[in-house]
């Protein structure tokens, strides 16, 4: 008999019938769970065809020297067969400890880590600050909230263009800085200021999501906890430290993980802000794109290898993050 809801009847040790043979068990398992498998089949198939197969193919490409000159292609009516060959792990070795590994990989790697850490920290702190302000009884807070969500509402590719106007050499930001007799940096040319500008724009884009999520979290904290804390004479800081932060824990751990993944993979902001003009401000994702599609000849193998390395970094990080949460008795919502 199949049950639609079997989440309550989780396996418990000791109340199992004597083990039957493997064939029998397989059959029972099939009878019990075929509904579930039928229901996840569409997604499983799509993932297999659209994600798993390309991924395996991509891993294979990283073991070759494929580029746009030796892969199969059609020019006019002539079809040219692929001539790339298998070279094993050379691509990875070259990326990680080849001659110019520092310039190509490690410098971008360090910048990517710095970028992710700074952006997520800024997103979280500013978002939490604004959420706390909006969670008070305050005249016009709905209006504030609507305005503050705006950067999220406008598509990134639109806002980044807006920022490019503002950051351009004679743009409004430098004009304003000039008027205040402050130095006006070359935002889109100088490496340091490119990085600064990228973090600034990404922070501007990312704060609303954090703010709204944390606001939701704040509103779900039971008000009686605050009353009790106040009765005990807790100061505002103590109430924040011992009621608000623990109450936000599960939302925080989820949005911080999402934020880290999204920022680490943030393609649009840097790509649209600089195009190919800023080799030193590229994070690993945009750098991998540049290798595969931004130059001639296109280096497919190295680009794919970067992609696999990036994915590996994220998976390792997420596993550790999860384990760390579990150790602290927290569950990730996802």
């Amino acid at each position: 008999m199949t049950v639609a809801i079997d989440r309550a009847t989780g396996k418990r040790h000791g109340d199992r019938a004597p083990r039957s043979g493997p064939g029998q068990r397989l059959k029972q398992s099939y009878q019990k769970h075929w509904y579930a498998y039928a229901m996840i089949a569409p997604v499983a198939i799509v993932l297999g065809v659209l994600v798993l197969y390309p991924l395996v193919y991509g891993v294979y490409l990283t073991l070759t020297d494929a580029n746009s000159l030796n892969t199969a292609r059609t020019i006019g009516v002539n079809h040219i067969d692929a001539t790339y060959k298998f070279i094993g792990l050379d691509n990875y070795a070259d990326i990680l400890w080849g001659d110019t590994a520092y310039d190509r990989f490690w410098s971008h790697f360090i910048w990517t880590i710095v970028w992710t850490a700074l952006c997520v920290a800024l997103h979280y702190c500013i978002g939490l600050g604004l959420a706390l302000l909006l969670n008070q009884k305050l005249r016009g807070r709905t209006l504030y909230r609507l305005i503050l969500v705006l950067p999220w509402a406008v598509p990134t590719f639109v806002t980044v263009f807006g920022w490019r106007f503002m950051l351009a050499d004679g743009g409004i930001i430098n004009t304003a800085l000039d008027a205040l007799h402050l130095p006006s940096p070359a935002w889109l040319e100088d490496t340091f200021w490119q990085r600064f500008a990228a973090i600034m724009v990404n922070t501007w884009c990312g704060v609303p999501f954090m703010m709204v999520s944390l606001l939701g979290g704040l509103q779900s904290i039971d008000a009686s906890l605050y009353e009790a804390a106040e009765m005990d004479g807790a100061s505002a800081w103590q109430r924040f430290r011992y009621v608000t932060l623990p109450g936000l824990r599960s939302v925080s751990s989820t949005v911080v993980l999402l934020g880290i993944i999204w920022t680490f993979n943030q393609f649009a902001v840097i790509f649209l802000l600089f195009g190919n003009t800023a080799p030193d401000a590229q994070i690993l994702v945009t750098w991998a794109y540049y290798l595969g599609f931004g130059q001639q000849p296109r280096d497919f193998a190295q680009s794919a290898a970067y992609g696999i390395l990036l994915l590996a970094i994220l998976i390792v990080f997420t596993s550790f993050y999860r384990r760390w949460l579990n150790r602290n008795d927290q569950q990730l919502a996802i």
């Binding site: 199949t2 229901m39 998976i315």
Partner: protein
């Protein structure tokens, strides 16, 4: 907490006389200074949030392509000329068509395929459940670079480069797991008693899902649809690599083409940007409350 009862009662007796008679401050009410500071910070933050957008709108009214460098002049010669030019003489409507086809295609396929899965992972525990959830999570972390090269190779083998179908397929690789994920969160909020009631009445799991749960889950389906629409609409990397012909560009790519092809016609770019941003932002505002609940539904419950 270190404050003892004695201290706090002493403190209370000290503060009572300073309170104005008749005004008792309740929790959540603020002192005047406090609320002024709050308003101050929020106003500054709002200005920062608004300014880049307003600036874009303002620049879009300047007729000259270099007006963004001396914006003071725009006040005297404000015009909607850029807008009418963009609407009449550029590929704006082609881009609109491409964007809509690709985004709606992704949305429909994504939601349709993901719905049953979301239900299954919400209600059933089957062998391999954890691994499956892990796969769904991992696909969320795919950097664009991972699938881009192999997808490009495969689609060019299938002659699907520069076709809407190709781009829809690419977007489905992220939209489908994403929707399944989101819908699981929503299905979790629907009481399990409803399923039990359906089962008692003799419905199969499919029947329960189709007749009872699906109608209840409409808001959740809407959230998943909005999300995949907005994601597909704003995607840049795949769209700019896989779409080659001018008329098939999505907005994300078309907007860039003003820089290269038309010698950086920034006034037109600004106008196009505003034309895209306004409907999308309105759409977003209508659904934003649900979007957040959808994304963190599981999160707030822990």
């Amino acid at each position: 907490m270190s404050t003892t009862t004695v201290e706090s009662s002493a403190e209370a007796s000290r503060t009572v006389p300073t309170q104005a008679p008749g005004r008792i401050r309740r929790r959540g009410d603020q002192s005047l200074a406090g609320s002024l500071v709050s308003h101050g910070i929020l106003t500054v933050a709002s200005l920062i949030a608004l300014f880049p957008i307003l600036w874009l709108v303002f620049l879009s009214l300047g007729p000259d392509k270099d007006d963004y460098l001396h914006p003071g002049g725009i006040w005297k010669k404000m015009t909607f000329g850029n807008y009418s030019f963009v609407l009449q003489h550029t590929a704006f409507f082609d881009w609109l068509k491409s964007s809509l086809i690709v985004s709606l295609g992704t949305t429909v396929i994504g939601v349709l395929i993901a719905a049953t899965t979301g239900y299954a992972v919400s209600r059933m525990r089957f062998p391999g459940y954890r691994k499956f959830m892990w796969v769904l999570l991992v696909t969320q972390m795919f950097p664009v670079a991972v699938l881009m090269v192999p997808m490009y190779q495969m689609l060019s083998d299938l002659q699907l480069i520069d076709s809407y179908l190709g781009l829809v397929l690419v977007y489905c690789s992220t939209a489908v797991p994403y929707c399944a994920w989101l819908l699981k969160g929503y299905f979790d909020t629907i009481p399990f008693e409803i399923d039990e009631a359906g089962r008692v009445d003799g419905l199969t799991p499919f029947g329960t899902f189709a007749r009872l749960i699906l109608p209840l889950a409409k808001p959740g389906l809407a959230v998943a649809a909005f999300y995949s629409f907005l994601t597909a609409f704003g995607e840049v990397a795949f769209a700019s690599t896989f779409m080659l012909s001018d008329t098939k560009y999505t907005f994300a790519v078309g907007l860039q083409s003003f820089v290269s092809e038309h010698d950086a016609q920034r006034n037109l770019m600004a106008a196009t940007a505003v034309l895209i941003a306004i409907p999308v932002s309105v759409f977003f505002y209508l659904v934003q409350k649900n979007l957040v609940t959808g994304l963190t539904a599981g999160g707030t419950k822990g």
